[in-house]
């Protein structure tokens, strides 16, 4: 990969992923590896600026009616796909309809009634109910645009042999399990204003290597052929940082890990028991033990950086920090007693024992171990089972657990986080992701309302209310927020790539800021 050097214009930048994408059809997927491979190829109507506000991108401007049930969006003119076809309202409509039909993230269209191409470069969206977050959603790569002609011509091969967008990189080739090759779109000039470089990117080719084995990836990044990667394992971050050849940036991510507590199973159906658990947990210790220090404690499910997240001070105040005595008191009061610290508490001859599942991967298995320890200190007997994910989901859906380690990818938007983890619609035994089996009309109502609340401040208040509600009820115990790592060789200049963590997507580099200078 280390080819000719020079002025930086004919360089290759080699990125690395830890698993091969399944498809590069943007409307077929929402997994991280695929998204990472697609973001540089496809542009969207909006992007998120450093203040986390939506900014038009392939759109020029937009209007919405008062209750936010109708959007009229003007499109950029003169944009061409990599295959030379034109980007216009028809193509955009076709793409968005295709996304609504196929995408796993189609829910982001909310109650969309229809899309009208009201002009050559104008789209009108009609919703049944208010959809205030629509522009934010439109910033996701799944809402991007592919050349209709290319999609139709390639048929099933689209996303495998062919990927055609409008973005700064042009898809060239995909060698399975090996690498994906892109070339620079020389004509690109639509980078958002907040970027230092809004023209073509600084290198000639972009390669994404697939390196599944973490150790190998570490070696590749430090001394091998990979120039940079966001896939470095937490345990390797320090090594990268310490290595002479490499640099490492850390950025907090909104992506939370937490414990889901089954509110239906004994004894965790008692709120006191759940609260005692929350008091027993020491988030800092988990960060150290399970994340190699590469994470940050969270006290609400939605960390402060998420849209609608609760600020830390409030969260800590309303919520829980480790306080073993309070935990013990709570349990004592609830009738769960023991003679000595560390012993298992009993009530009417029943042990205070909970079944605790953890995923078989790091950091979850370690979270399990550490938490088990913490719970036992206040008199729980936590029967930890470390399970492979398929088995774990099966058993959790069967409600066999009291406690399970969980994480949520994304998590940037509080509404989503709060809905998917605790809304009764998502009740796990029915196949949803509410693994706390939490069913509260009150909570559901707040979330539903927040979803359609047009006013930003109002909405935020509702979201905060929801978070405080769950801090009281404790169907989950927030644990740790992940940290993103940007690792790169020293010869890569990456000055601005973390300035705006959501550009071009929360999971991606700011490739525009990358400069390769191997001289």
């Amino acid at each position: 990969a280390d080819q000719a050097d020079g002025d930086g214009n004919d360089e290759i930048f080699v990125d690395a992923l830890d698993s091969d994408p399944g498809t590069l059809d943007l409307h077929e997927t929402n997994r991280v590896p695929e998204s990472m491979c697609l973001t540089p190829v496809h542009e969207r109507l909006f992007t998120i600026d450093p203040d986390l506000e939506p900014q038009p991108w392939l759109a020029t401007e937009y209007e919405t009616n008062d209750d936010e049930t109708e959007y009229v969006i003007q499109l950029e003119e003169g944009v061409e796909f990599h295959d030379g076809t034109e980007f216009n309202a028809d193509v955009a409509k076709w793409n968005l309809e295709r996304a609504e039909e196929n995408s796993p993230d189609a829910w982001q269209f909310g109650t969309l009634e229809e899309i009208d191409a009201t002009g050559d470069y104008e789209l009108t969206f009609h919703f049944e109910e208010p959809h205030p977050l629509f522009p934010q959603y439109l910033a996701n790569v799944q809402m991007g645009f592919a050349s209709r002609e290319a999609v139709e011509a390639a048929g099933d091969d689209y996303g495998q042999e062919e990927v055609v967008g409008t973005g700064p990189l042009v898809f060239e080739e995909w060698v399975r399990d090996d690498e994906i090759v892109y070339s620079r779109n020389e004509d690109y000039d639509r980078g958002p204003d907040f970027l230092s470089n809004d023209g073509p990117i600084n290198f000639e080719e972009y390669h994404v290597r697939i390196v599944p084995e973490p150790t190998t990836l570490l070696n590749e990044v430090t001394v091998g052929n990979v120039d940079g990667s966001m896939m470095i394992a937490a345990s390797d971050a320090e090594d990268v940082e310490a290595h002479d050849n490499t640099q490492l940036e850390r950025v907090d991510d909104a992506h939370p890990t937490f414990l889901s507590i089954n509110v239906e199973a004994e004894p965790t159906d008692e709120v006191e028991v759940r609260q005692a658990m929350a008091y027993a947990v020491d988030q800092e210790a988990i960060v150290n033990a399970a994340f190699h220090g590469e994470g940050y404690p969270i006290y609400s499910l939605c960390p402060p950086m998420a849209v609608g997240g609760l600020d830390e001070a409030t969260a800590r105040e309303t919520g829980y920090e480790q306080d073993l005595d309070t935990a013990r008191e709570l349990l004592d009061d609830a009738g769960w007693e023991n003679d000595e610290e560390g012993e298992v508490r009993t009530r009417n001859g029943d042990d205070l024992s909970v079944s605790f599942f953890a995923f078989e991967m790091e950091p979850y298995s370690s979270i399990g171990e550490v938490t088990q320890d913490m719970l036992s200190q206040v008199g729980f007997e936590a029967n930890l089972e470390i399970l492979e994910s398929g088995t774990l989901y099966d058993r959790v859906e069967g409600g066999e657990h009291n406690l399970v380690t969980m994480a949520l990818s994304g998590g940037y938007i509080a509404n989503n986080t709060l809905a998917s983890t605790l809304h009764s619609q998502n009740y796990a035994p029915d196949g949803g992701s509410n693994y706390s089996l939490y069913q509260s009309d009150e909570y559901d109502e707040i979330i539903d309302q927040a979803e359609v609340e047009p006013d930003d401040a109002e909405r935020e208040a509702l979201l905060h209310e929801a978070q405080e509600h769950i801090l009281e009820e404790v169907p989950v115990v927030p644990l740790v927020g992940f940290v993103k790592f940007y690792a790169a060789k020293n010869e890569i200049s990456v000055d601005a790539w973390t300035d705006h963590p959501w550009w071009p997507s929360p999971d991606q580099y700011n490739l525009h800021a990358v400069d390769v200078d191997r001289s």
């Binding site: 399990d177 001394v223 196949g431």
Partner: protein, 313 residues
């Protein structure tokens, strides 16, 4: 001869059928819901049910098997649940690198092991013998993935003689060699250890045969005895031994492909197993089995040419 070849080929059919049944049974018996895994978190139960239906997961096992077999007979191994692509295509894309790796590993194994085994046997108890036996046992005992990690660490990270991982370059070019060498060594070393020992003992056995004594009694020099009388006979078991190595080498590539990011079938299989991508698991194992069967077939046929005692007519 031809009759034997045909018979031997026909014999593969029931075995092949058996293999498909074994593979399918394992796959169908496995717990976990691939539809769920494919859809990811937050998928609605309806969507899961629908996908299950699309994938035929709601059908009884034997129906699924017959459907699958019907496809297999037409070269269609089904569709990947995760990527939605044809399993046949997925495998074809990765077959090449796996074969490359296996063949190079095999070649290395044979090139190292056979001469070493012969020399060790001929100079039994000499320092050559002792040293090569020491190393044979040493290599034999090393987990290949661990060896792989160590090789990467030493030769790619520490001394940087070779690239760390991946596969690049056109076959047989310098670049290609630089990429394939470490994984091939990691795959082949254990096998080489084994083969050296097997070669040595089979050569020793031959050197103790009466006809070697006869040859020595003719007053032929000892080198000529070994090469004209020993080698031809030693080659016969060697073919078997090499044949026995084939499935082992292919087994070995699976884990090495993961360690070295080699874009082959092993990675496809490992990923598919973890993601419960049934059709891919079924297809990959089937292809591995076909390779093994074809290799064994080749060995049997080669045998008939090598060993005049075998008369298959």
């Amino acid at each position: 001869m031809l009759a034997y070849t045909v018979r031997r080929a026909l014999q593969m059919i029931p075995v092949m059928l058996g293999v498909t049944i074994v593979i399918s049974s394992i796959v169908y018996a496995a717990p976990g819901n691939p539809a769920r895994l494919a859809l990811g978190d937050g998928a609605s139960p309806e969507a899961v049910a629908q996908l299950e239906q699309e994938m035929g997961l709601d059908q009884p096992a034997h129906i699924r098997y017959f459907d699958w077999m019907a496809g297999v007979l037409q070269g269609d191994l089904g569709t990947s649940i995760q990527s939605g692509r044809a399993v046949t295509t997925l495998i074809i894309e990765r077959l090449g690198p796996t074969l490359e790796l296996a063949l190079v590993a095999m070649a290395l194994t044979v090139i190292i092991a056979i001469p070493l085994g012969v020399i060790s046997a001929v100079r039994q108890y000499s320092w050559v013998d002792n040293t090569s036996m020491f190393f044979a046992i040493f290599w034999l005992s090393m987990p290949s993935f661990w060896l792989g990690l160590i090789l990467i660490y030493l030769f790619a990270v520490r001394w940087q003689f070779f690239p760390v991982s991946g596969r690049e370059g056109v076959i047989f070019t310098f670049t290609w060699w630089s990429f394939i060498l470490l994984p091939a060594i990691a795959t082949g070393t254990r096998r080489a250890g084994l083969l050296t020992r097997l070669m040595r003992s089979s050569m020793l056995e031959i050197l103790n045969e009466d006809y070697i004594r006869t040859a020595r009694g003719k007053g032929i020099g000892s080198k000529a005895v070994i090469y004209t009388h020993g080698m031809k006979n030693a080659l016969i078991p060697v073919v078997t031994l090499i044949g026995l190595q084939v499935p082992l080498i292919f087994s070995g590539t699976v884990i090495i492909e993961v360690v070295f990011s080699w874009p082959g079938m092993g990675r496809l299989l490992v990923d598919a197993v973890l993601q419960r991508d049934y059709p891919v698991v079924q297809g990959t194992i089937l292809v591995y089995s076909v390779i093994v069967m074809v290799a064994n077939f080749g060995v049997d046929i080669a045998y008939t040419y090598l060993d005049p005692r075998i008369d298959y007519s």
